[in-house]
């Protein structure tokens, strides 16, 4: 449905997207993962036909986003990073105004508004102004609005950033249902659990490039070990323990300020080996590798703004 080859986006001297390739198929949920400033949103805006590519090829639904923007956008739904709701209008009016942008008749909009508000559990707020709604409700309304034209592809730019856990789960639940209904989802996120929950396939972006691509499971398999042993020592013994641990076999080890991580096949076996060295950690945790381990391995632990 979407094909990018060597896609580039430049703003003056700054390169936001430095030649990326990806392909997207109907019905899948595809994620762009990456730290802030990795180029995720720029890519999303190019797919949304509101940002002309500076180079490379991009085809959406077999069409050219620059020449056929209106036709493509008629078939897309967009949930932007920042809500763009009209705060002074009511929930219902927001859907009315937006539906009209797509040339839908009043009857069609009324019918879909009822369905969509029901879908995002906002039916009882239909006649309320948007301004006082909670962040989670606004997000759900934005999702409802993006579906008014029954899009084939739904673009979600950080759909749950800034929401509390309940609101996030409510959004995930709705997105999961859309996926089951056959809507193709494209989302950006820097939440690993979100990517793991929703994405069939994802790319990890870092510094304007794609660092890795695959399903969450494949990525974990390729870039991490099955298990991770997390050890914590008293602060004064931390450094000494870290040096001694060099003798314990592990595929990869990471010494953080407060913990030491050992990437291994079997965490319990390794823990026994640690104890055999005479090291007794304050706490130890054996867990399965997650996307977060992959993410941190690929994009490093440096801090972006």
């Amino acid at each position: 449905m979407i094909r990018a080859r060597g896609l580039v986006k430049r703003f003056g001297d700054f390169t936001a997207v430095a030649g990326i390739d990806f392909e997207l198929y109907r019905g899948e949920a595809f994620g762009f993962l990456g730290p802030n400033g990795a180029g995720k949103s720029s890519t999303m805006r190019m797919i949304g036909c509101v940002s002309p590519p500076s180079g490379g090829e991009l085809s959406i639904l077999g069409l050219d986003p620059v020449a056929d923007g209106p036709v493509i956008r008629a078939r897309l739904g967009v949930v932007p990073q920042e809500d763009t709701l009209d705060l002074e209008l009511t929930v219902r009016e927001n859907l009315l105004v937006y539906g009209r942008y797509f040339g839908l008749s009043r009857e069609v909009i009324r019918e879909r508004t009822a369905q969509l508000l029901d879908f995002v559990q906002l039916s009882d707020r239909a006649e309320d102004q948007v301004e006082p709604l909670s962040g989670g409700m606004k997000r759900r309304l934005t999702i409802a609005r993006s579906l008014i034209n029954e899009p084939e592809i739904l673009l979600l730019d950080e759909p749950t950033t800034g929401l509390d856990p309940q609101a996030r789960h409510a959004v995930w639940d709705r997105l999961f249902r859309l996926k089951q209904q056959g809507v193709t989802l494209i989302l950006t996120t820097h939440y690993m659990d979100e990517a793991e929950q929703l994405c069939d396939r994802l790319v990890v972006m870092d510094r304007a490039k794609i660092a890795a691509e695959g399903s969450p499971r494949e990525l974990i398999k390729r870039y991490s070990t099955p298990e991770v042993l997390e050890l914590r020592f008293e602060p004064d013994r931390h450094q000494v323990a870290a040096e001694k641990l060099a003798g314990v076999p592990a595929e990869r080890r990471e010494v953080l300020a407060d913990r030491i991580l050992l990437y291994v096949t079997d965490g319990d076996v390794t823990l026994a080996a640690v104890r055999a060295l005479g090291l007794e950690p304050l706490t130890s945790l054996v867990r399965r590798s997650t996307l977060e381990d992959v993410f941190l391995r690929l994009t490093g632990r440096r801090l972006e703004d």
């Binding site: 009209d86 797509f102 034209n149």
Partner: protein, 273 residues
């Protein structure tokens, strides 16, 4: 939520431009439904205050001189068409500044529209259509109030309505094409203080341009408001000449066209980054 291609969306240019602009107009009308009552009061009050205080009040002094410079009519009759054009200017500048920045920066309704089939130029033209409607409303109310106060003597005055609207659109197109490029609203105050107020005072609304010092007169003739004032007045007083009217209309249409061309470009640059 079946994934079906929506038939109604496949409209292609050039007709699409007009269709899309009307969709944006309808967005503004929906918004306006919340505030139209308040705006009607100020559209009524404004002409009452100005025509009352200046036309009737100050006019009672001016009329004692019976000065030929104002064409031998009462000051109220002289003043009203000038203020009509000025009303168009202030309405247009007001609608072309803060609401535009609000739409692109504070509330981001423009960004919402760009996610639909609408293109930046459609969004711009849709807002211009809305401003044209607001201009027609405000100027029609102004004309009606002037008629009630006795400032209108001929049906020719009706012809000054479209001229006033055109005057407003010339301001609307040019200022809006600039306002969309702003990231802060501080420069709007400059437009009001150093743009609108001098134009308001020195474009022949309150006294004929011929009363200005000689070196200032060409500057006054070059401003858009003067062309609006001159033609509105000529029409209202029944003193219109074809040549003069063509120059005035040509100037205003030309300025509008320049503003539209500039706005097509600046809207695209702001909304398609």
């Amino acid at each position: 939520m079946a994934a079906v291609t929506t038939r109604e969306a496949i409209t292609r240019p050039p007709l699409a431009g007009a269709v899309f602009a009307v969709r944006e107009l309808r967005f503004w009308l929906t918004n306006y439904r919340r505030t139209w009552r308040g705006s009607i009061y100020s559209s009524l009050l404004n002409p009452l205050l100005f025509l009352g205080a200046l036309g009737l009040g100050l006019g009672s002094l001016v009329n004692q001189h019976r000065d030929a410079a104002i064409g031998g009519v009462s000051y109220l009759v002289f003043l009203a068409p000038g203020l009509l054009a000025a009303t168009a200017m202030t309405t247009a500048v007001g609608e072309s500044t803060y609401p535009v920045l609000a739409s692109v920066k504070w509330v981001k309704t423009y960004q919402a529209a760009t996610a639909s089939p609408l293109r930046p130029a459609d969004i711009f033209h849709g807002h211009m259509l809305f401003v044209a409607l607001r201009l027609t409303m405000n100027c029609a109310i102004f004309l009606a109030v002037s008629a009630v106060l006795g400032a209108v003597h001929s049906y020719w005055a009706l012809a000054s309505l479209p001229v006033a609207v055109l005057t407003g659109l010339a301001f609307n197109a040019t200022i809006e094409s600039w306002a969309i490029t702003r990231t802060r609203d501080t420069s709007f105050a400059v437009i009001f203080r150093f743009g609108m107020i001098p134009l308001f005072l020195f474009s022949g609304i309150f006294f004929p341009i011929t009363q200005l010092p000689g070196w200032l007169q060409p500057i006054a003739y070059a401003t858009p408001l003067w062309h609006g004032v001159a033609l509105c007045r000529a029409l209202t007083l029944g003193a219109v000449t074809l040549g003069g009217a063509l120059i005035n209309v040509g100037y205003l249409v030309g300025l509008t066209a320049i503003g539209v061309a500039a706005g097509n470009r600046s809207y695209r640059r702001r909304l398609y980054v």
